[in-house]
Symmetry: C2
Subunit: 193 residues, 2 copies
Amino acid sequence: MKKVATAQKPSSTVNGVAVDELFSTIHAVKSMPSIAKFRFRVRNQWLTGSRNCSDIATFTGADQELAHPRPFRLEADEPAILLGKDLAANPVEYLLHALASCLTTSMVYHASARGIEIKQVESSFEGDLDLHGFLDLNPLVRKGYRSIRAHFQINANVPDDQLQEIVELGAGHSPVFDSLTNGVPVRVTAERG
Amino acid sequence: MKKVATAQKPSSTVNGVAVDELFSTIHAVKSMPSIAKFRFRVRNQWLTGSRNCSDIATFTGADQELAHPRPFRLEADEPAILLGKDLAANPVEYLLHALASCLTTSMVYHASARGIEIKQVESSFEGDLDLHGFLDLNPLVRKGYRSIRAHFQINANVPDDQLQEIVELGAGHSPVFDSLTNGVPVRVTAERG
C-alpha cells in the first residue's frame, strides 16, 4: 500500500469517523487477537418466483454474540424482463451496492486514519452480464459478471494526483472488493425443510 | 450440470415463475444473441463516516435502456463496534444477501423450468472475516471473507437425495455465486468531484 500524504493531523473525529476509537481498536486487536474475528449472517426466505427476502439480526465479533438494535430486512426481486415483479433491486444489483458501499467506507476509514479530510464522495458502478451463461446456452460464457467498473468523484483536500491513491486505500482494504476480486469458497448444503 | 428428475410436467407458471416466458426468452436469445447482454448499475453517495447509500434506477438489457418502475435506495452503515451508527446493514451483510437472494432465485427458476414444484425455501448464510486484514495488522490475513457457508431447508416434491441436486441447480447457475466464488475483475478510477 502506497502511503498517502497526510493533509492534516488526525483529530478525534475525521469525516465522521471516530479515529481515536479506530486506533483503540487496532491496539485492542494487537493485545487480544481473537477479538478481530467476525461472523456475519443473513437468513433468507423465498416468497414466490423471483421474490425473496433476507433478515439480518445478529453477528459475532470481539468474542461476543451481538445484535443490531433492530433487525434489517432486505427484499429482492427481478425486473419484468427477467420474469419478476420489479418490487425490489435484484441480486446482482445488491452485489454492486455491497461493493460500492464497502469501497466507500473502507476509503473513508483509512483516509480518516491518515487525517485526510474528505468533503464529498459519489461513485458510479456498472457490471456486465451475459444471459447465455445463466440460460445454459453457451458453456464458454460465465454465469456471473464478466467485469465491473467503478468511478469515484471525490472532493478532498489533496492534490489531483492523490485522488487515485485515495480510492486505492478503499480497494486495498475493502472486504467486499477483496472477496469479489479474489473469490471466496462457498459451501452450499441442503436438508428437507 | 447433473439432470434433476422431473417431478411434474411444466405448466405455464411453476413456483410463481412464468416458465413459458422463460422458454420464450431462451428461444429469443438463440435467434438474437445480443439481447442476452445486460448491464446493471448503482450510483452511491457518501453521507458521513460509515454511512452511504446507493440509488438503483436504470439498467441495460435486451438491446434497450430500461428503468425500474421506481428507483430503489439502499442504505449502508456499520454497527457501533465497527464505529458506525447501526442504521442499516453493513456492506459484507449486503454481500451475503446478494448471494442468498441469487442462489434462491437461480434455484427456483431452474427447478421451475424442469417442472419441480417447490413449496418452501429458507436458507441461512454465514461468513467469516478477520479484521487483522482490514486493519493492516497481518499481511497474511485477507481483507475479505475467508469462507462462506450456506444451508438450505427445502420443502419440495422430490426424494431426499435430490435436495442437494436442487441447490446445485442454484449454485450452478447463480450469477452472484459465480462472481463471488470465481472472482470478477473490478477497475476503480477517480476524478475530482
